[in-house]
């Protein structure tokens, strides 16, 4: 690949990344909608259960679920960005990108970076919101936190793209929401500590990539977690690599 082609691919990636951001900020309902549910989880569930729960760990319930809710926001936001490929297909814009003289790889990368960026913005907003709601979080290592949030986002945006590449229209979206996204969220230990969960539940949750995301975030934000940070980071990286590969493969098979 020559310098000019390379430059062209990067320009294409940049343009597609920017498109995700412009579309995200332009759609007020999407920004609000994406923040509504996590806000209520924190404000109602977090406050309501704060005094009802005795955690095996130190700290209160609000502090416990804040990293979990941030993990949820990252997953929902990035999965949605990936699945939105279906909308692009339905409204035809996908064709415009598929016939452009840039590689499928660049299209996936632009899309994934864009989706991950918007998901991280949502995650950071919820982080700030949870501080205002009284969660005692302490960010020890900002760079590592950002990097880890980014990794989680890329992981799920790739999964979203992979799923979207196998579906024909938005009809399957509800199914994915109910039978993939929600179970992944509930199993991740975002709302309850895995250490006190029944063995079967704990065993299943160890298969959930979000479990490692949430625990890693918990470590980075409150300094304690059921699973060590090194393990979390390694597992999330492995899932990310696998999902990117699957997304690339499935996306390249879309016939334009």
């Amino acid at each position: 690949m020559g310098a000019q082609e390379m430059n062209n691919e990067i320009e294409g990636i940049y343009a597609l990344w920017k498109r995700e951001l412009v579309n995200f900020f332009r759609s007020k309902s999407r920004v609000l909608g994406s923040l509504g549910m996590p806000f209520f989880f924190l404000a109602i569930l977090g406050t309501g259960l704060n005094n009802a729960f005795a955690l095996p760990t130190s700290g209160n319930y609000m502090q416990f679920i804040a990293p979990g809710i941030i993990g949820m926001v990252l997953m929902f936001g990035s999965m949605f960005s990936g699945i939105i490929v279906l909308m692009d297909r339905q409204f035809g814009f996908l064709k415009e990108t598929l016939v452009a003289p840039i590689s499928r790889l660049s299209i996936v990368v632009g899309k994934a970076l864009g989706g991950a960026t918007t998901a991280m913005i949502q995650g950071l907003i919820i982080l700030v919101v949870s501080l205002f709601l009284g969660a005692q979080l302490q960010v020890l290592n900002v760079a590592l936190l950002i990097a880890f949030m980014f990794l989680i986002s890329v992981m799920f945006v790739s999964l979203g793209i992979a799923i979207a590449s196998t579906l024909q229209d938005m009809h399957g979206f509800q199914l994915i929401m109910n039978f993939l996204i929600m179970p992944l969220f509930f199993l991740s230990g975002a709302l309850f500590p895995l250490s006190s969960a029944p063995d079967i539940l704990r065993a299943v949750s160890l298969l959930d990539p979000l479990t490692y995301g949430v625990n890693g975030l918990r470590y980075l934000l409150i300094g304690q977690s059921d699973i060590g940070f090194a393990v979390c980071f390694a597992v999330v990286s492995a899932f990310t690599a696998a999902f990117i590969a699957i997304a690339m493969y499935l996306f390249s098979r879309i016939e334009g």
Binding site: E5, Y14, L16, V22, G92, K95, E96, P101
Partner: protein, 339 residues
Amino acid sequence: MQKEIGAAAKAIEIESLSKSYGSLKAVDSVSLSIEAGTIFGLLGPNGAGKTTLISMLVTMRRPTGGAARVNGFDVAKQPDSVRKSIGIVFQDPSLDEELTARENLEIHAAMYGVPKKIRKARIEELIALVGLEKNIGHQVKTFSGGMKRRLEIARGLVHHPKVLFLDEPTIGLDPQTRANIWDYIKKLNEKEKITIILTTHYMDEADGVCGRIAIIDLGKIIAVGTPENLKNTLGGDVISIKCGGSHSGCGEKIGKMNWVKSIVAHDGFIDIRVEKGEEKIPKILLMMEKEGVSVESVSLRKPSLDDVFLHYTGRTIREEEVKPADAMRMRRRAWGHRR
């Protein structure tokens, strides 16, 4: 990159190009060459292979046989060079409706490697060419169907393509907007000196716009020429008769007359091709009266492209266009689905 002079002769060269899906031959050994600078029309009923042929030329599908060169680049071996040298306007809209007109063109320019320095000027020039200056900053979702189509045409031209492909550019638009779009297309062809390859099933519009036409049916090209030539080869006049009741026996009898060149029944009409039509009308009417066929109307005309189409395919193109479910399926097959 190819020199301008080299590309001037032939925009498209197709040699026994084929595309099969299992035993179905969607495009069956098509050979065709298109001169640079022409407006070339590809006409045929749904399922004839038009869209498959075009999607091979724009490198969205790989041929299963034969070869094609677009602007001198091989579609199978140099897809990126082909893509950079062509513009495409799809049958279905392909804009990001949340973005503005300008933003849509900017993304296109970036993906096609248009140098940053000239992007802004080029985009504004094209927006003006299609008359959307006032709407350049508006979101596309506020546009009418005709405006979207014009924007797509402008977008297809951002990267200075030498060939522009238009798949049914006027489908779903009202007649006035259609005329408008054709005016823009003709203007483009003259001003930008680009080759335009289009499919349409509005025969009268194709007649007015296209310099050359190919009629394609069942995956094969069955006639190529200027609209004038195609009509002249048919020759004579067409007498079109609308009958009240059954006319089958009578049609057969007329068909046996030695002065009848051809006779086709379609949609309740009988089209009879003859020389000196005005002299034959009384004879035909007399025969029909003897057979007891009630005649509702008679018209005499020079052959149109519709007649040319009918002559070669045995069908009118209109019979093909009415089934929305079919059209939907074709479209999804053409663009949306995986193998």
